[in-house]
Symmetry: C2
Amino acid sequence: MSDERHARAALSRLTEPGDPRVAAAVARAGAPVLLQELLAEQGRDTLDLDVEPRLGRLDPERELADAARSGIRFVVPGDEEWPTGLDDLAHAPTVHEMGGPPLGLWVRGPLRLDEIAESVAVVGSRSATTYGEGVAREIAAGLARAAMTVVSGAAFGIDQAAHRGALAADGPTVAVLACGVDRVYPAAHRDLLEHIATVGAVMSELPLGCAPLRMRFLARNRIIAALTRGTVVVEAALRSGALNTATWADGLSRPVMGVPGPVSSAPSQGVHHRIRTGAASLVTSPADVLELVSGLGEHLTEVPREPARARDRLSGRHRQVLEAVPLRHPAGLRAIAATAGISLLATQSALTYLADRGLVAESAAGWRLERSADAEVPEA
Amino acid sequence: MSDERHARAALSRLTEPGDPRVAAAVARAGAPVLLQELLAEQGRDTLDLDVEPRLGRLDPERELADAARSGIRFVVPGDEEWPTGLDDLAHAPTVHEMGGPPLGLWVRGPLRLDEIAESVAVVGSRSATTYGEGVAREIAAGLARAAMTVVSGAAFGIDQAAHRGALAADGPTVAVLACGVDRVYPAAHRDLLEHIATVGAVMSELPLGCAPLRMRFLARNRIIAALTRGTVVVEAALRSGALNTATWADGLSRPVMGVPGPVSSAPSQGVHHRIRTGAASLVTSPADVLELVSGLGEHLTEVPREPARARDRLSGRHRQVLEAVPLRHPAGLRAIAATAGISLLATQSALTYLADRGLVAESAAGWRLERSADAEVPEA
């Protein structure tokens, strides 16, 4: 296992994350063999992996020791803690020519990855609106209260709101970075990342010191998608990286969920597009999310209903008479019967029934509605 | 035809709209025969229709003459102007025990109903938000510009916004009322209804003088749904009557479309619920609506895209090197090669290629990104 761990640490230094050729070679020959091949020039030619410029820095033993001293562990497949959901990446379609499970995860924080019973990704635009951040916070808090771990990318906007929502609800949260876990990106989130590393986990497939680069964000997104039972996109413009995470989730057959917003809001357009084309399900609350990511019947969404009105409990004829009692001014029996299209006798009997239930009242001027009938004209 | 028209006018006075028993009897025996049956006491018993209280007022000849003097025509099936879409109601499922085509339509306004080539219902909550009214106006205006007639119910909120949007775009619009077309409901919409009656059409299946009653709104909604190629619900709380129109449209196999909004907004909850359960398609623009109600390919929605960026057109290796050029400070060839994981020679060649295209530039301090590369770290 030590050989394996060292080989994976070395490979994660020599190669870029999300390179499907590396993943395939590791699956075929194992990490130690691939490493040996790459250390021999001939093997490098065969694999077409250009690792020379990085060979100089290679010292996995020291790297693992340095990391351990900083409280950072390197979790690899086979470890008890390994999140097996990541293995699904071996069979998922590539996105932007990327794919494959990570070689390992550098993890900072007390949250053991095998203790994440259930988790949901909550991601979205860096250029989020106040509305979007509010919804992200509320959904994350609701998921946290339902014992779901909230996974996100620690970016500005939706990501940070999701982490903060989970933390506010005393729930576990995981930040997956596109740089080494010893780096702080974005710099303004130093306190947030420290907090997450204190109560949850900050992780990355990139070795310590690695900088956040565009391709690494795209590779990182597959980890977020594979680590979780589903991905919620709160706000995402049409080319947002959050949609890339959604694409990964979709390829992994994990539910993709989108939160709607005002149609005039650019950060909602990408989400609306995915919902419209059927690539995402519309969700508006933690309950909606739980229903989609949970086993059947585990978390049933209650359809919210307004309280039933007295008139809703009436039978056809009584209701017909109630409808015929005018909205404002009292009316006589004959007028009500004519409007209802019911005989005088039947109308009189119905009015008595309704009066007994406090829905109508008789005065010298005729019959009028009581407030309890809630007899407003319905919405059109 | 005169017999038929008179009989239908009389029946529309004697019965309530949306009574499926009346529709069935007319379909079976014809309107004149049904009228004769109802005028004979025995027939009334058989049909279980309680028309006695209304018999006194019955004078269809005078009613039709009075209406004509007021510029109101009574359009019935068989008339050139009859909107045949309404006939679909004969086979649609009932809703709240209502159903069936109307006996006829009392119409005020110059718009001939057979000249409505295509139409869309735009409906929603009376308690609409500023947001909802704005979206309703914009969608209606866009539909009007695409020569679609906008049909709605002239109510407060979304309905009036839809009518006004169509009128602002000089498009035809139709108001379907739940009272006689000589009445003004709501009273505050007197000018709006006058305007619609001047350039479009105000119509109702209810004879002149009839009051707006709750059940009549529910019956009216089936006319709105059947008259149009699809129904757009802009805002609707969970028990809104606008959802009733959507239910009619669904039963008639017409597309039901919903406009999303903030999840915290009560008037969007009914719409979100229908989208979430698959009972409505999410639409955000007139183009989305046109795509769903039009024949295949007639109105193709352009997927809105941000302009492609220079980096998107690069091949793998060139892109990899571009990504490795740091975001802020210039870097040397060796550092870039190490980050990209590519040999010095290949990196140099790629940098030259990128520089030729204005994406990177070399200075004494090293290579840096040019603005044209739009090389910001991607979202999320």
